[in-house]
Symmetry: C2
Subunit: 283 residues, 2 copies
């Protein structure tokens, strides 16, 4: 008999919580970096939890993965080389590799166990792992970016956990300066930037650090993400030596791969700034 | 000493839950129609709960109230007469009355206790209740719409609870036919239409019933709403004898009243259909 209960993440900083009804715990371990749990839910497919925080569910991860990848790749004129920092579930890598212009995509995840568990419990996200253009490295993303050859990349996607613990060093000027140096002119950094409603201070400090590191144009794109605190999330794009106001609208409208949230219209929509965000960010 | 605990709404249909950290229960009663509770939260201001379902918080209700009113009013060329069915917290009424072209706005809430408690615990939402253009009626909205003079209204806003209990009769062809008859040509019906992610069947059946009742053009607008299941909500607009593809963009850009979410850009953005919704609704 299955035992129905709830997994609930209480998000202390915002005084709110989100939970999922679960049928059973499928796996639990403490890796070298963090605790990882996988649950089977009643309505959301499988659920991955890291250090008590919901990372993804089968049902709603398409929102996050599509918005972390397609806006940047349809803004860049022709992105050949992409690096993903974090992203161990491989969902962002899969979306990146849908773009035929991408010649090489390197995923630099610090914790190999996240990827091994994704292969087992979220196999659909790992579909592109065997693509000859993909390279999966298990390494420190901060060090990887610091060691990158200058002007060697077109897009860097920072798909990390919250700015505490292992991911803390991915939200500061030193890291952004490494990204800026590694990008070619016109290159784009995109990073998950938490909830527009309750993490406005973090978004502002990320943006200030990105500017300080030499990025010229910034844009914060909100999108729905039910499994994260407040159900409303964002990514922030920063561009080297070029603006972020335009994207390849015709390319996006004529894309030859399937998506579930992203299209040319939702891309344009994500560039709209809610009034409070516009005022807070001075845009 | 205050006692910190959590109020959590477990949404059985979607197998997910949303909770808020609360400091104390400020009020609880059983009205003639439903149970109503008011909590003081640590981070979201006051919280109103009806029959166990979160209705609104001080912190995030602006999203819902602005999106239930301004898109319809900036689509209509000149809305003089507006009726709100439900809307007992008066937040939608306040937003409607920000529009100077509105000559009369009638709120028809079945449960007077909701409004009396809003006056006490959400006074900012009731700021416009004394406006000479406002009329607060405590009556059955289904009967009110059935008795309305034909072609007497410009906008009808259905700001109700979920389609169970007292609000069930607000989601069917008979009610929509009353709304259609009461609207003038070019008139707009707008109704809260639940979560795009988990209530797609409801959205489809609402839209089918609206079409059957004579509405020509339909549009479902998604928007973030952290306190409702999945944190992602929608309203559906239906128009009599005119299209919904355009709105008064210049009017919206030059509006002379404050908003926190709504502006011309977010209005345009709400008209973008996520790929899965576009396919599901055949748009």
């Amino acid at each position: 008999m299955s035992q129905i209960s709830w997994f609930t993440e209480a998000h202390q900083a915002s005084g709110s919580s989100i939970g999922f009804r679960v049928e059973k715990l499928l796996h639990a371990e403490r890796s070298a970096y963090q605790s990882i749990e996988i649950y089977q839910t009643t309505d959301w497919g499988n659920l991955m939890v890291i250090d008590g925080c919901v990372m993804l569910t089968t049902r709603d991860n398409f929102l996050y993965h599509e918005m972390m990848s397609h806006p940047a790749l349809f803004t860049h004129a022709h992105a050949r080389r992409v690096v993903i920092i974090g992203g161990g579930d491989c969902g962002t890598l899969r979306e990146v590799l849908r773009h035929p212009e991408v010649e090489r995509a390197v995923q630099v995840e610090i914790d190999e166990r996240v990827t091994r568990l994704a292969e087992q419990y979220f196999p659909e996200l790992c579909e592109a792992n065997a693509d000859p253009r993909a390279e999966l490295r298990f390494d420190d993303g901060i060090k990887y970016m610091a060691d990158c050859a200058p002007e060697s990349l077109d897009v860097v996607i920072v798909d990390s956990t919250d700015p505490v613990g292992p991911a803390e060093g991915l939200f500061n000027t030193a890291f952004y300066a490494s990204c800026h140096r590694a990008l070619r002119a016109g290159g784009i950094l995109v990073q998950q930037s938490e909830s527009p409603l309750v993490h406005l201070d973090l978004i502002r400090s990320m943006r200030a650090a990105m500017k300080k590191s030499g990025f010229r144009s910034l844009r914060t794109l909100p999108f729905p993400q039910p499994c994260y605190p407040t159900g409303w999330w964002s990514c922030t794009m920063a561009r080297k030596g070029a603006e972020l106001t335009q994207f390849r609208e015709r390319g996006a409208a004529a894309k030859r791969f399937p998506t579930r949230y992203y299209n040319a219209d939702t891309h344009r929509a994500a560039l709209a700034q809610p009034e409070f965000l516009r005022r807070a960010l001075g845009e």
